[in-house]
């Protein structure tokens, strides 16, 4: 999170900041968090206020490269989630509850419909949840070879109250037996861009994921 301050000495437009997904105001006791399902702009123009810019319609170009105004407005649905909570001890981190709720808001459940029923009611590839501050950002095939999968894990910053003791954790208990049986026992640790292999020949069975706060871990898993 980034601390912003409203300065009276600069005009309003200098005090407006991006609101990619989360903003809050707080005092000693209370924090009001505004979670946004879409990136917008925000400011706090008076004490106790939080302004979220929803949309604009501007007829003229501002000579900054777009070459036109903003006149293509469509009927738009915007979603927000509001939390009021006791202020966590650390100002620069959202509470674990808010962070998890934000992930749910940004990653809605996919609903698919079919008129043909399936005999299998449920398919589950992760028997236990990851530690409470670890986010599985992506698990996808290599774009070149469909034999290789990349697992992206991210550990987000959580205030102390969350008590997520996850400096390191074993990956194996979080994978289903289907996945474990289909995968080669050796995995590689990769850079975020997937261009560099950091460590190869790691054992899937002993793999301990170690991540600092706000850090990523990327693993390459191969099919047998």
């Amino acid at each position: 999170m980034v601390k912003r301050t409203w300065y009276d000495k600069i005009p309003l437009q200098g005090n407006v900041y991006p609101l990619p997904s989360l903003g809050y105001i707080e005092d000693r006791w209370t924090r009001l968090s505004i979670l946004s399902a879409q990136p917008l702009g925000a400011t706090s123009s008076h004490p106790g206020n939080f302004d979220v810019f929803l949309d604009r319609r501007l007829l003229q170009d501002d000579n900054r490269g777009v070459g036109q105004g903003i006149t293509d407005n469509r009927r738009t649905r915007e979603r927000f989630r509001i939390f009021v909570e006791q202020r966590p001890t650390e100002s620069l981190k959202p509470s674990n509850q808010v962070q998890k709720s934000l992930l749910r808001l940004l990653n809605p459940v996919h609903q698919m419909q079919s008129i043909i029923p399936s005999n299998q009611g449920e398919l589950n590839e992760m028997p236990t949840s990851l530690p409470c501050d670890v986010h599985l950002v992506n698990f996808r095939t290599n774009l070149v070879s469909f034999n290789e999968f990349h697992l992206f894990l991210h550990r987000f910053a959580s205030s102390c109250e969350a008590q997520c003791k996850t400096q390191s954790f074993k990956l194996l208990p979080h994978l289903s037996s289907n996945l474990i049986n289909a995968l080669q026992p050796s995995v590689s640790s990769m850079s975020l861009s997937l261009l560099d292999e950091i460590k190869s020949n790691l054992s899937l069975h002993d793999l301990s994921v170690e991540m600092d706060t706000v850090d990523f871990s990327v693993y390459a898993l191969r099919l047998k």
Binding site: M1, V2, R4, W6, L12, Q13, G14, V16, P18, L19, P20, S21, G23, Y24, I25, E26, D27, L32, P39, S44, S45, P47, G48, F50, D51, F53, L54, D55, L58, D62, G65, Q68, I70, N73, R75, R77, R79, F80, R81, I82, V84, E85, P108, V109, H110, Q111, M112, Q113, S114, G121, E122, L123, E125, M126, S129, C132, N138, F152, V214, F216
Partner: protein
């Protein structure tokens, strides 16, 4: 993480004696039935069935909607509907409230806006006076440089209230969710919905609107939260939704909207693989 998600399915009115089964085939007993509206109009041919789906991480769960040949041992509960300002004469009530065990929200009937909010904590209702208002900024007048895609050059230091007088308000109260829908019948056609969920300590806001040609030319629309919180001049925003802070942003002041999209582009390759559901509509 395990997720309990509210799922709502649209069901044709003529489909009767139906049940919803969970992935193990067990009948779901807590289903809330809502009427469906399109702005002011009640849609008579369809209704909405809402229930909580339980999802494990990286899972696909099949919920089945089927017609039952047997008499059902229970009936699904329909939500209660209350309306204000739907007639030509404004409603007499000044305010109304909705609430769960955790949150109580009080709305003003004349403006449709949230006027007070009480939070339940440690057996006490703490009033936080959170209010929500819609406001607008114009742009500079005359021959001065005006707002555009990047520049925000407002006509005043503070925003102007968007006039909303006696808007039609619909309140749906149910066992799983309760919501207030305010229909602002100006050119914006703003549909403002505030939803409370059973057992949750948050509330959701959904706004649907369009800034149309004519009345909203050279306007910026904002939603203002006011509260008793003594934050002084300090507020917090995230840098991107992934809490990754390696990007340098040096010119963000004036570009309140635009830079964010570039940041998001960097991360658009992430797919939503964590959990998903298959709410099967099995019309037999």
């Amino acid at each position: 993480m395990d997720r309990d998600e509210l799922v709502c399915l649209a069901i044709p009115q003529n489909f009767t004696n139906w049940i919803i089964r969970d992935p193990s085939g067990k009948m779901i007993e807590e289903v809330q039935i809502n009427r469906v509206y399109e702005q002011r109009e009640l849609l008579s041919d369809v209704f909405e069935a809402c229930f909580i789906a339980h999802l494990k991480p990286i899972s696909l769960a099949q919920y089945t909607l089927e017609s039952s040949t047997q008499e059902l041992p229970f009936t699904y509960e329909s939500s209660q509907i209350t309306v204000y300002n739907f007639d030509s004469i404004p409603s007499r009530e000044k305010e109304f409230e909705i609430g769960t065990e955790n949150i109580k929200l009080i709305f003003n009937v004349a403006t449709g806006s949230l006027s007070r909010s009480d939070l339940h904590s440690n057996d006490l209702f703490k009033s936080l006076n959170i209010t929500i208002n819609f406001m607008t900024y114009g742009t500079r007048h005359g021959n001065q440089e005006k707002s555009g895609a990047y520049l925000f050059l407002p006509d005043s230091q503070d925003a102007q209230n968007l006039p909303i007088i006696n808007p039609p308000i619909r309140v749906i109260r149910g066992s799983i969710m309760t919501y207030v829908e305010v229909l602002v019948e100006n050119e914006l056609k703003l549909r403002h919905r505030i939803t409370l969920f059973k057992g949750q300590k948050y509330f959701d806001i959904e706004n649907e609107f369009q800034m149309v040609k004519g009345s909203f030319d050279n306007q910026e629309l904002l939603m203002r939260f006011t509260s008793k919180i003594k934050n002084g001049a300090v507020f917090f925003t995230d840098l991107n939704s992934l809490q990754v802070s390696c990007l340098t942003m040096t010119v963000f002041n004036l570009l309140s909207y635009c830079i964010i999209f570039f940041i998001f582009l960097l991360f658009t390759h992430r797919n939503h693989f964590f959990s998903f559901t298959d709410g099967q509509a099995n019309l037999v």
